[in-house]
């Protein structure tokens, strides 16, 4: 077992990184004074991982959309118990989520930490699927999919991904469709489980009122050794261009909802962190609440406080976007592109860049003010191929000229799309 202590003097925090003999990477951040502890057990398996191969396979396997999310639901049922009933005995609050590139099972607790960690590590390693339990879950997940269909903010976002990407599976809803989940059966679930829920492909992150030795002791008791199966995931070729300039749908909304996306080249590791910060700072300087763009267009009523920017990235995709509500989304889109052109032509303020850096540093310090955010930070950094403190160092070393030089690539109107949900009119 390899155990190292990683410290950062800028935020005054530290955490342990352990490579457990079973193949699992474990992170532990002891946060003194806090009552609660969060433990997150995740696998690098999300909705985009629909094509894969292991050393044992001759061909690439292609599975139905929504299967990672279906597995997330089904693992909460063991052969002899409901997992929530087990957590009821410890008082921990447990849940799970599936994203584009990971599935994570977690609990928050303020007592009985060891018992809860044992339950978490046990149930995720103990799948149990039958035709009856899979059929029953299809009804529940179908309701979840319908709930998402009625959410215009989610619809406008996934429509944007469909406009931006030609082939990448990020363009598909995480839960799949009612049709695609109908193709999922117990055999497929076992196939995907045995491929992706290998400890070499997984991570455990714990933060809060805990001790590293107690986490390792539970891990030693509960983890079952895994052979590395040589897992490889595959993605279709993705052109640099966008798939569509504009996509529009009608729903029952009071005000049109929009999302505007800028397609960028994907990256990974520290380079990914640098591009994430450059994107966030550039978009804040151009379109954030401190910008002339925001002031001018909120005063005219074109945008409102729902207007916000974000970056979404993962294996094979990277997109900067702005979303909100407006009576005239096309005008917002035009003005954003004009603002990008103006910034390229006239430059940006160095002083404001430094203010943005300070603000981002504040956000990072705040992350370690929160038990669950700390655990989540450890886990998501690992999934992205980084350490939890790497972002602090990347931010500290970010230079104005370098960031300014990235505008053309990170906000390219030639590789952008507009997605709109319009109100239904009689």
């Amino acid at each position: 077992m390899k155990k190292e202590l990683i410290e950062n003097s800028r935020v005054g925090e530290k955490y342990y990184r352990i490579i457990h003999p079973t193949g699992l990477t474990v992170y532990v951040m002891e946060l003194s004074g806090f009552s609660g502890t969060t433990a997150m057990f995740g696998t690098k398996y999300g909705s985009v991982n629909t094509s894969f191969r292991t050393d044992a396979d001759e061909d690439i396997a292609v599975v139905p959309e929504g299967i990672a999310h279906f597995l997330e639901h089904k693992l909460f049922e063991n052969d002899d118990s409901q997992v929530y009933d087990l957590f009821a005995k410890t008082g921990a609050s447990a849940n799970a989520y599936t994203s584009f590139d990971s599935t994570v099972y977690y609990f928050d607790c303020t007592s009985n930490f060891e018992e809860s960690l044992e339950i978490l590590l046990d149930f995720v390693q103990r799948p149990y699927f039958t035709k009856e339990t899979v059929d029953k879950e299809q009804g529940i997940i179908a309701q979840e999919i319908k709930m998402c269909e009625d959410n215009p903010y989610r619809r406008v976002y996934f429509n944007l991904l469909r406009a931006i990407y030609h082939n990448h599976p990020v363009r598909t809803e995480i839960a799949g469709t009612v049709e695609s989940i109908g193709k999922i059966d117990a055999e497929l679930l076992y196939r995907c489980y045995n491929t992706f829920y290998n400890l070499n492909n997984m991570v455990l992150a714990v933060a809060g009122n805990c001790k590293v030795d107690e986490v390792i002791a539970v891990a030693d008791r509960m983890l079952r050794p895994c052979k590395n199966i040589g897992l490889k995931t595959f993605f279709p070729d993705e052109p640099e261009t966008v798939a569509a300039d504009c996509i529009t749908e009608k729903m029952s909304v009071g005000v049109p909802v929009f999302s505007i996306g800028y397609k960028c080249a994907p990256s990974s590791g520290r380079e990914l962190l640098k591009r994430e910060y450059a994107s966030a700072i550039l978009m804040s300087m151009l379109f954030g609440t401190s910008s002339e763009f925001y002031k001018r267009n909120s005063e005219s009523g074109l945008i409102n406080p729902s207007f916000e920017t974000e970056t979404d990235d993962g294996e094979g995709y990277f997109m900067n976007s702005a979303s909100g509500e407006s009576e005239d989304p096309k005008r917002v889109y035009e003005l954003m592109n004009e603002e990008i052109a103006r910034a390229k032509r006239e430059g940006l303020s160095r002083e404001e860049f430094e203010e943005q850096k300070k603000s981002r540093y504040g956000t990072l310090v705040r992350m370690f003010n929160n038990v669950s955010a700390s655990a989540s930070g450890l886990l998501s950094a690992h999934i992205a191929g980084c350490g939890a403190f790497d972002s602090i160092e990347v931010l500290a070393n970010l230079e104005f000229d370098e960031v300014y030089g990235m505008i053309g690539e990170l906000l390219d109107p030639e590789r952008s799309s507009l997605s709109v949900i319009e109100p239904i009119t009689e």
Binding site: F34, E249, E299, E355
Partner: protein, 425 residues
């Protein structure tokens, strides 16, 4: 835990709560102006929190203020208006890093506190009224938010259900009164309501976090010093009477999934027993509703219950196919009657209390939640700490849970169901 709580009466209807714990890296300040709901003033009060939090005479440009806050390591100022029970709250708050995280020794917290005081006491004015450009921007935003209420289908369904459940009470009103009322607002009319609020509202200031509040508390005590002898004292509790017969209401909208909202009311049930009962009924993933309506019958993805202590009401929210609403409704009623008959195990009751303990103890881990906790306790006339409340919940007996469930009666059933869906273009 090293949490220290103190409440000081500053006189003139102004109170100051400080909750300190050195583990926190941030500090929060919340200034609440508390009044009773009035439909005439609601539009102005709803907008006022937004106008006050966006700029001040010190920072007369919202972009300039935003830049200043960025330079203070991402401090923020925000405004919020709401109606809860018998209290209408106009809240303006600030959040900053503790000074020990400043890279160049800046006084982050005091500077942020000063900006907040400027927003409250030195608003940017033109001709004896709020500055017009920012006022109009905030007004357009509020109107847009009103028009967008329909976008979040579940929240919209809950709003309509509570409108029926609380019919005839002020709680049935939207926090902004009416859209027409907001449209009619002017910089002058809202400024006059602001001046009146300063004169008549009860004021509760809350400091919570890891920092040393001494200097900032002095600043606030001085700024809020007043010789007022009379002020409003709205009541936190505003129980809603049970209808003689349950009300049923349906609305159609373009949705894939129906929303079933059931509102129950209680006849003088004890609050701690009701809290435990509600959690056993539908607040956890091992509750009666989750295990039966979702897991056993596979009818829905969400089915949960929430207890509103200010109104002595419980709302059950369920997303379900339209053709299954009757089945879901019957099962929800059946699960409630089973609790009233004592059909739950000691193990289920203990699990529910453990989950509640987890919920209450976790309040100690967030500075803003601690501040909100002690503010609410004061409004309720209680001095319970989260730990103290937990002990009371643990003392609730099986018999008391049964007695509480027996007193919970159906008041309102609301269904939001779908029409034909819109098509993609």
């Amino acid at each position: 835990m090293q949490t220290e709580f103190r409440r000081e009466d500053l006189g003139g209807g102004v109170g100051l709560i400080t909750v300190t714990d050195p583990k926190f890296k941030t500090n929060c300040i919340n200034v609440r102006f508390l009044t009773a709901f009035s439909k005439d003033k609601a539009p102005a009060l709803a907008l006022l929190s937004q106008v006050l939090s966006s700029l001040s005479a010190d920072y007369p440009d919202s972009a300039l203020m935003s830049r200043k806050l960025n330079s203070l390591y991402g401090s923020w100022i925000s405004g919020y208006s709401s109606q809860r029970g018998g209290i209408y709250e106009v809240s303006v708050s600030a959040n900053s890093l503790c000074d020990r995280y400043a890279l160049s020794g800046e006084k982050i917290f005091e500077e942020t506190a000063e900006i907040l005081l400027g927003c409250i006491f030195r608003p940017e004015l033109e001709n004896g009224a709020f500055a017009e450009a920012e006022f109009n921007s905030r007004k357009l935003s509020l109107l847009s938010a009103i028009d967008s209420e329909i976008n979040d289908k579940r929240a919209y369904a809950v709003t309509l259900a509570l409108e029926t459940a609380y019919s005839g009470e002020t709680s049935a009103e939207r926090f902004y009164g009416s859209r027409e009322g907001v449209e009619a607002l002017t910089p002058k009319s809202v400024y006059e309501v602001y001046l009146e609020l300063l004169k008549t509202a009860k004021i509760e200031i809350t400091f919570s976090g890891g920092g040393d509040f001494t200097e900032a508390a002095k600043m606030f005590a001085s700024a809020f010093a007043t010789n007022r002898t009379d002020w409003e004292n709205p009541s936190y509790y505003y129980p809603s009477p049970l209808k003689p017969e349950p009300a049923f209401r349906e609305t159609e909208l373009e949705v894939s999934q129906a929303s079933l909202i059931m509102v129950f009311k209680t006849l003088d049930a004890e609050s701690c027993a009701l809290t435990v009962m509600c959690w056993l009924f539908g607040e956890t993933p091992f509750s009666k509703l989750f295990l039966n309506v979702r897991e056993k019958l596979s009818l829905c993805y969400t089915c949960s219950a929430s207890y509103f202590d200010t109104k002595s009401a419980i709302a059950v929210v369920c997303g379900v196919d339209a053709e299954n609403t009757e089945r879901a409704k019957n099962e929800i009623l059946r699960q409630l009657s089973l609790i009233a008959e004592g059909d739950f195990t000691d193990s289920e009751l203990e699990g529910t209390k453990l989950a509640l303990e987890n919920e209450y103890r976790s309040i100690y881990d967030k500075a803003s939640r601690l501040g909100d906790w002690y503010y609410s306790q004061n409004a309720k006339g209680s001095s319970d700490s989260p730990e103290g409340k937990m002990k009371k919940l643990w003392a609730v007996t099986r018999e008391e849970v049964i007695a509480a469930a027996e007193k919970v009666k159906l008041d309102t059933v609301f269904v939001l169901r779908g029409e034909e869906k819109g098509s993609e273009q």
